[in-house]
Symmetry: C2
Subunit: 417 residues, 2 copies
C-alpha cells in the first residue's frame, strides 16, 4: 500500500445503479440472476486492480409496492454470500464484501459464514454490517415489526462485538449478553488476513460511534465536498475514544460516475438515462428514502412537505431533506436527482474530469477512496476501468498492481492481533 | 433417467469419513479448509456422473471435548453454503446438496439462500433439512438449551412447509403460524428445476412422517439388508397418506466402501485405518451418538449400560443399541465398529464385491441409490470412481452420461407444479 493512493470498491448491483438502468437499450434485464454476468464484472474489477467488489443486501423486496418494485433495476437478484462464494472461485485477488443484517441473523452463524468465505477466498472477505431499516424485511422475519432505531443499534453493537471476538479467537469463556449468548469458538481456524474486514454504512450519531468502535471501512453518501469533509473529520475524530488511530478506518463515499471520451458524450449518456425514469418510480424511491408512504399525495411540482420522525434509515432521510432545502427542489426534481444516483454523488464528464473530482476529495481529506456505482452494467464499469483507472494510475493515485494477497493488504489495514 | 438405475451421492467430509482418516499416511490434514481439495473432489464425482455431492453441517464443534474433537477428521471445515457456491462455479452438472438447520435459521432467509445457490448453479441445489440434535450448537444460539425432540420436529414441519411454499410461489397472503410469520414472496424468480430438492435424514417416527410429507430424497443409515428394507418399505408406505407416489421419494442409505483390486488389499486398507482409531476417540464418538456424557466411566470391554431416554438424535441411538444387542459387542468393539464408518454400512472388497452388495440392496427393494462415504479423500473417492462406477455401468445399474441438466433431472423427480 502506498499512502498516497486511494481505495476503490466496485459496487455490484444487478442491471446497474441507475434506477432506470433496466430500461436502457444496452441493459441486461436478467443480470441479477446471471452468474456469468457477475463473473465478468468481478474479473473486470480485478483486472483494473479494484480493492473489492461490494454487494448490498436485504432479505425481501426492496420496495413495498410490487408494481413499482418491478420497474426498478434491483427487484430480483442473488443472495450475496452464495454469489460472492461463487465469485471467489473465479477470481484470485479482489476483495469480496457482502452486506448482512444484525437483525435477522445470529452472530455465531454469521461469523462462521464470513470466515468460511474468507478461507475459501484466501483472505479476501469483508462483512458490511447493516441493522436493516426496512419494514418489508421485518415482515418476513416474524410479526413484531421493525425494531426502533436505537434498539437495532444496541443489538448491532453487541452483535459486532461477538463477531469480532469469534474472529479474533477471544471468546474466552463465552458471551452471555442482552441479545445473544454464545459458548464456543468457531469450527474454523484463524482468518488468513487475521480477521475478515468489517464494513459499515450507518451515518447517524449512534451509527458513527459503532463504526468508530468496530469498522475497518465505512461506506457513506455525500453530495458535496463539505458534507463529505464534515463526515470524514467527525468520524476520524471519534476513533481516539475507542483507542484507535484515524488511519485504522477507511472512509469510502459512494460515487456514481458517467464517463465518456468527451464531456458532451458523457452528458448525453446521462440525460438518456434520466429521461428513462418514470415519475412514479422516482417518487416511490424518494418515499422509501424518507420512510413515508404517502408522498404521492403531495403536488409533484411543489416542495417536500414537513416530515414526522421515523424509525427508518435516518442518514438517508437527512440527505434528502438537506438537498431539498439547499437547492429548493420540487418533489419531481428531487425524485429525479436521487433516483439517478440513488442518493450518491454523481460526476458526469471525461476521465480527466472524473479523476479531478475524485482527486480533490481524496487530497482534500474528505475520502480515503470511493465505492464506484456504475449506472448500468457492464458498460459503465467497463468505461470506468478503461478510462478513469488509467488516468488515476498516471497521476500516481491508484495502484498498477496488487501489493498483497488479502483484502486487508489492499486496504492497508493492520492485521488484528 | 433410466428406471433401473441407482442414484449416487458423494458425501464430502474434510479428510474423510473414517474417524482416523486424518492419521492416515495419505491424509490431507487441512482438507477441511482447502478449496482446491474440494474442487478436485467435486470434479471427480462429476466425471463419474454422480447425482450430487452432499455436505453435512453443524454450526459449532462436532464434539464437546475439544481434546477429542481435535483428534477427529472433521474438527474444522468450511460452512457448506459458501463451499457449495464456490463449487457451483467450478462444476456444471453435478447436484449440490447442503445441510442446514431448522432450529437456527429462519425460513425466509434459508429459502432465499438455497434458491440463490439453485439459480447460480443452473438448478442443481438441494437442502438437507436437519433439526439439530446437538447441545453444542444450541449453546452457540442462545442460552435456552436444546429444544425437546418433539418441539424441534414441530418447528421443522412448519419451517419446511413455509420453504416449500416460498419456492413454489404459493405463499398467497403470507404465512402466520406457530413459529414463523412471513409476508412476501422471495426476491428471486422460480427455480430452474421448479424448486430446489428437499433432502431429509430423520428416522424416528415423526422424522419419517415429515419426510413422507415433504422430502424428495432421504439419506439414512442401515447396517443390514433387513434394516434397510424395513425402513424403505415403511417410508414408501407412508407416502400415500400425503397424496404422494412411492417413487416421489428417493431413499439413499449411506455406504462406506473400502475397495481395491483384490479383496486382500481392500481388507489391508481397512485394517490399517481401524488400527489408527484411539480408544478414547471411539468411545467419545459413541457417547455423542448415544447423547450421553459418561460412557467412559464403564468398563471398555464390558457391555453397553442401560441408557435413559434422551432428547438427542433418536435414530442414531437406536442404531447403536440395536447393533450392540445383535452382535453382543463390548463398548470397545462397538466404538471401533461405529467409529470406522460413523454408523453406516461398511463394504470391504473388490469392485465386483462392492457392486454385488449395492446391486442386492437396490434390486431387493431396500434402496433407490446410495450416499457414498469414502474413508479418506481423495484416495477412496478416486478408487470408487475408478473401480466401482465402471462396474455398475457395465451392469447397466448406473448412468454413463447425465440425461438432464438439473438435480431433479438426475434423480428422476417430478418438477413441482
Amino acid at each position: 500500500m502506498t499512502a498516497g493512493q486511494m481505495k476503490l470498491g466496485a459496487f455490484l448491483w444487478a442491471t446497474g445503479h441507475h434506477i432506470a438502468a433496466w430500461r436502457h437499450p444496452k441493459a441486461h434485464v436478467t443480470a441479477g440472476i446471471d452468474i456469468d454476468h457477475y463473473i465478468q464484472l468481478a474479473r473486470t474489477a480485478e483486472a483494473a486492480k479494484f480493492d473489492m467488489v461490494f454487494c448490498e443486501d436485504a432479505a425481501g423486496l426492496r420496495e413495498a409496492n410490487v408494481g413499482i418494485a418491478s420497474q426498478t433495476s434491483r427487484s430480483i437478484g442473488f443472495e450475496p454470500i452464495s454469489l460472492l462464494s461463487a465469485l471467489a472461485a473465479q477470481t484470485s485477488r479482489i476483495g469480496l464484501v457482502s452486506t448482512a443484517s444484525t437483525s435477522y441473523n445470529e452472530p455465531y452463524g454469521l461469523a462462521r459464514t464470513f470466515l468460511s468465505l474468507d478461507h475459501l477466498s484466501g483472505g479476501r472477505a469483508g462483512w458490511n454490517l447493516v441493522t436493516s431499516a426496512s419494514p418489508i424485511e421485518a415482515a418476513n422475519f416474524g410479526s413484531t415489526g421493525l425494531r426502533p432505531h436505537a434498539d437495532r443499534y444496541e443489538r448491532a453493537r453487541e452483535f459486532a462485538e461477538v463477531v469480532a471476538r469469534l474472529w479474533r479467537e477471544k471468546l474466552g469463556s463465552g458471551h452471555d449478553g442482552q441479545s445473544f449468548s454464545v459458548r464456543d469458538p468457531l469450527d474454523l481456524p484463524r482468518s488468513p488476513q487475521g480477521a475478515p474486514v468489517m464494513v459499515q454504512a450507518g451515518a447517524s450519531d449512534v451509527g458513527r460511534d459503532l463504526a468508530a468502535r468496530t469498522a475497518d471501512v465505512v461506506f457513506t453518501a455525500a453530495q458535496t465536498f463539505e458534507e463529505a469533509k464534515a463526515f470524514y473529520d467527525d468520524l476520524k475524530g471519534r476513533m481516539a475514544t475507542y483507542g484507535r488511530e484515524p488511519d485504522d478506518i477507511k472512509i469510502m463515499p459512494g460515487v456514481a460516475p458517467v464517463v465518456a471520451e468527451t464531456e458532451a458524450k458523457a452528458r448525453e449518456k446521462y440525460e438518456e438515462l434520466q429521461e428513462l425514469i418514470p415519475d412514479d418510480v422516482g417518487v416511490a424511491l424518494l418515499s422509501s428514502y424518507l420512510s413515508i408512504s404517502d408522498l404521492w399525495r403531495y403536488p409533484i411540482d411543489g416542495p417536500l412537505p414537513e416530515l414526522p420522525e421515523s424509525e427508518g434509515m435516518k442518514s438517508r432521510q437527512a440527505l434528502v431533506i438537506e438537498q431539498s432545502r439547499r437547492d429548493n427542489l420540487s418533489i419531481r426534481q428531487l425524485a429525479r436527482h436521487f433516483a439517478g444516483a440513488r442518493g450518491h454523488w454523481r460526476i458526469v464528464g471525461t476521465a480527466a474530469q472524473v479523476a479531478d473530482e475524485l482527486q480533490a476529495r481524496f487530497e482534500g481529506g474528505a475520502a480515503d477512496g470511493f465505492n464506484v456505482m456504475p449506472s448500468y452494467f457492464p458498460g459503465e464499469l467497463d468505461a470506468f476501468a478503461k478510462l478513469v483507472v488509467p488516468e488515476l494510475q498516471r497521476r500516481g493515485l491508484f495502484r498498477t498492481e496488487y501489493e498483497g494477497r488479502t483484502l486487508r493488504d489492499h486496504l492497508g489495514l493492520k492485521r488484528p492481533a
